[in-house]
């Protein structure tokens, strides 16, 4: 943790320094010249980015990288993954080691501004929640006064927890453990009454570790906002547009009912919105400096946002929740393509 201030200073210095000779539109050109896209992902987090037994990367963040590959090259396979730790991720993006960071990174103001990043949007809405054993008969986080709470150390989770209890004027006994594996062991061995982390983490812990998942309930209160989004570096607006509209295309496709299975047949549709999407009508690809079939390629090869979610996160027991489309009670919304 002591490296942090130095790192931030260095990063800041670098940002000031690099903005002097920023290169416009160069990222896509360089990637096209290299013949592949370099995507920074997590070193291993189930559902977002993780190599499977065959050594192939899987997850929603990986799918997003593949979508950008499909938009840029017309081939989702032209992506190379650079696994990055939490400390490395921003440097890797700033120094140009990766073209794009899709690493379940929370969009915050300081990261968006002083770190020299641009978040292109949100591909997963998460938030911190609480899990308790059903036998304790707790219905709400407001009943947790005096509870022993398991939490991972050195995370924002720990700070949010303290803030929440102070604001509610309640007391709690923190059981602070560094390693995820051990924190889970402690909770399931009943060393604490409550386990707190991001809701997605609670759900996958419940599915994977509980002897009987129904014995544990996740309380309705969500005490923090954790919007994850892909990011690019400052200084290349064209690349920012490409990555941003790739994200919107995956959301828009779900809205239009386009999937990897039906898009071929839908390409003949008379619906003008679909025609614009698949590139039959208008020059929307050209506006991005891409092929007009860019969005068609994304959906054909990777699928829409919902398909990616169903493939990677639904098996973990995650509900769409806030990640539903805007017209189905969620927050996923893409500006119109016109």
């Amino acid at each position: 943790m002591r490296v942090k201030p130095t790192l931030q200073t260095a990063t800041l210095l670098f940002t000031l320094f690099s903005s002097a000779h920023a290169h416009g539109g160069a990222t896509a050109d360089a990637a096209l010249k290299k013949g592949f896209l370099r995507c920074g992902v997590n070193t291993g987090i189930t559902g977002f980015a993780q190599p499977d037994s065959n050594g192939e990367w899987r997850g929603v963040d990986v799918d997003f990288c593949r979508a950008v590959g499909a938009a840029l090259f017309g081939d989702a396979r032209k992506v190379r993954y650079t696994p990055l730790t939490a400390q490395q991720r921003f440097t890797a993006l700033q120094s140009g080691e990766v073209d794009l960071l899709a690493r379940n990174t929370t969009w915050t103001m300081s990261r968006d501004t002083s770190l020299g990043l641009n978040f292109v949007g949100i591909n997963f809405y998460d938030g911190q929640g609480f899990m308790v054993a059903r036998r304790l008969k707790v219905k709400s986080a407001k009943e947790l006064n005096g509870a022993a709470i398991c939490v991972q150390s050195g995370t924002t989770t720990e700070l949010n927890l303290a803030d929440y209890f102070r604001a509610k004027n309640m007391k709690f006994k923190p059981v602070v453990i560094e390693k995820l594996e051990e924190v889970l062991n402690a909770y399931f061995a009943r060393r604490c009454d409550v386990y707190t982390t991001d809701v997605s983490g609670l759900i996958s812990a419940r599915v994977s570790r509980a002897v009987n998942p129904a014995d544990h309930i996740i309380l309705p209160e969500v005490i923090s906002k954790e919007p994850f989004g892909p990011a690019v570096r400052h200084g290349d607006d064209h690349w920012f547009d490409v990555v941003k509209w790739t994200l919107f295309a995956t959301i828009e496709a779900e809205d239009l009912g386009l999937t990897s299975k039906n898009i071929e047949q839908q390409a003949q549709s008379h619906d003008p919105a679909v025609q614009r999407f698949v590139g039959v009508k208008g020059d929307f690809g050209k506006m991005l400096g891409l092929d007009n079939r860019w969005a068609y390629n994304i959906i054909k090869q990777v699928g829409n946002y919902g398909e990616s979610f169903d493939r990677n996160l639904t098996p973990l027991g995650l509900d769409r929740g806030l990640n539903k489309l805007w017209n189905r009670g969620g927050l996923m919304y893409a500006p119109p393509m016109r």
Partner: protein, 366 residues
């Protein structure tokens, strides 16, 4: 005759038991306590590890049910190739498999000394170039595989082998530099060695991976793996240099003076007289350092490289395998042991041989 043997054997056993296990009251208590502990732990461990274990990946679903009573080796069976080769393309994994075989073969050939030293160097060169071609591809019809996809045991072996191979020559120069009469050279090498020895490997790796790219001009980036490998080499060299210096100091000064009297220049004196003896006596501590460095490669986890241990840890985060940490870490321990134990045996054999050689020499001299 046979009766005599029959008569003495039980007595011998008795004597042995008394001498080795129950020579005095405190020792008897210790023996009994150890036997009791073994009786308490070993059968239940064997039950868990062998008899109640789930072996086949097809039965992975049963793992949760027997958790605590039986081991889930199905986890290791399912993930085996990921542990060995990381994210290397699945249909190309024969290539890293061959690389591991070549490396093990090279270690064995070098250790058993079946070949002359002079033949060994070209063999290593040929082996390492074959490894380079196999891992990268792009030649002889092999598909190009970028080094982000290298991983698992292959990466651990490559990092440690190349690390030692480059660090060792560097360390000799550092050790000589530290004893040099040229003040500037001596100061520089002392500063280097003490600086590197003064910081942990983790921070050297962290510098190489996180800070270093910030100082490069925009658009220039040195490969992540190469940076980690360079950091390992620079780190290993400083430690090996101190070991070599220990060997150098053990050589009596008269030898150097005698060689000087024969009219040999500095490099001749070092190359023909001092270093051959110094390196021989420093072999056991050298091997010790090498074993340490082999295990230190697992620290590359902090810069997002998938070495053997990291591959195992990452598999543990997959929901179907979450909670089978004991199996995973036992397998990791076995993996490291299979490489470190032969190294340690090798250094013991060298020590014995070294002792024998000196004996022969003293006999001859007498």
């Amino acid at each position: 005759m046979s009766r005599a043997v029959d008569g003495t054997t039980p007595r011998r056993v008795q004597e042995w038991l008394r001498d080795r296990l129950f020579p005095s009251w405190p020792s008897s208590v210790a023996t009994l306590a150890i036997l009791y502990l073994a009786w308490k732990t070993i059968p239940s461990f064997v039950d868990w590890a062998l008899f109640h274990a789930i072996w086949s990946p097809q039965n992975a679903g049963l793992c949760r049910q027997v958790m605590g009573h039986g081991a889930c080796w199905a986890f290791v069976a399912d993930k085996f190739r990921f542990f060995l080769f990381g994210t290397y393309p699945y249909d190309q994994q024969w290539r890293p498999a061959l690389v591991i075989a070549i490396l093990v073969g090279l270690y064995a050939l070098s250790a058993f000394q079946t070949l002359r030293r002079s033949r060994l160097a070209p063999l290593w060169l040929a082996g390492l170039s074959a490894i380079g071609v196999l891992m990268c591809g792009g030649l002889f019809g092999l598909i190009y595989v970028e080094n982000e996809r290298w991983g698992g045991l292959t990466l651990t072996l490559l990092l440690s082998t190349l690390g030692i191979a480059f660090a060792f020559p560097l360390s000799i120069f550092l050790a000589l530099g530290r004893r040099s009469e040229m003040t500037l050279v001596r100061w520089l090498t002392i500063a280097y060695i003490e600086l590197i020895r003064g910081v942990p490997l983790i921070s050297v790796l962290f510098m190489a991976s996180v800070m270093f790219p910030l100082f490069l001009p925009v658009g220039v980036s040195i490969d992540k793996l190469l940076r980690a490998q360079l950091a390992m080499i620079l780190f290993a060299a400083a430690y090996l240099a101190e070991v070599v210096r220990g060997g150098l100091q053990a050589i009596p000064r008269q030898q150097d003076e005698a060689a000087q009297a024969l009219g040999l220049n500095y490099w001749q004196r070092m190359g023909f007289v001092i270093l051959p003896q110094a390196l021989r006596i420093s072999i056991p501590p050298l091997v010790n350092t090498v074993i340490g460095l082999f295990k230190d490669t697992s620290l590359v986890v902090i810069i997002g490289l998938f070495d053997f241990l990291t591959a195992i840890k990452i598999s543990l985060t997959e929901p179907p395998w979450s909670g089978f940490g004991v199996e995973a870490y036992l397998f990791a321990a076995l993996g490291y042991f299979l490489f470190c134990f032969p190294m340690s045996l090798y250094s013991q054999a060298l020590e014995r041989r070294g002792a024998r050689d000196t004996e022969v020499k003293t006999l001859r001299e007498n």
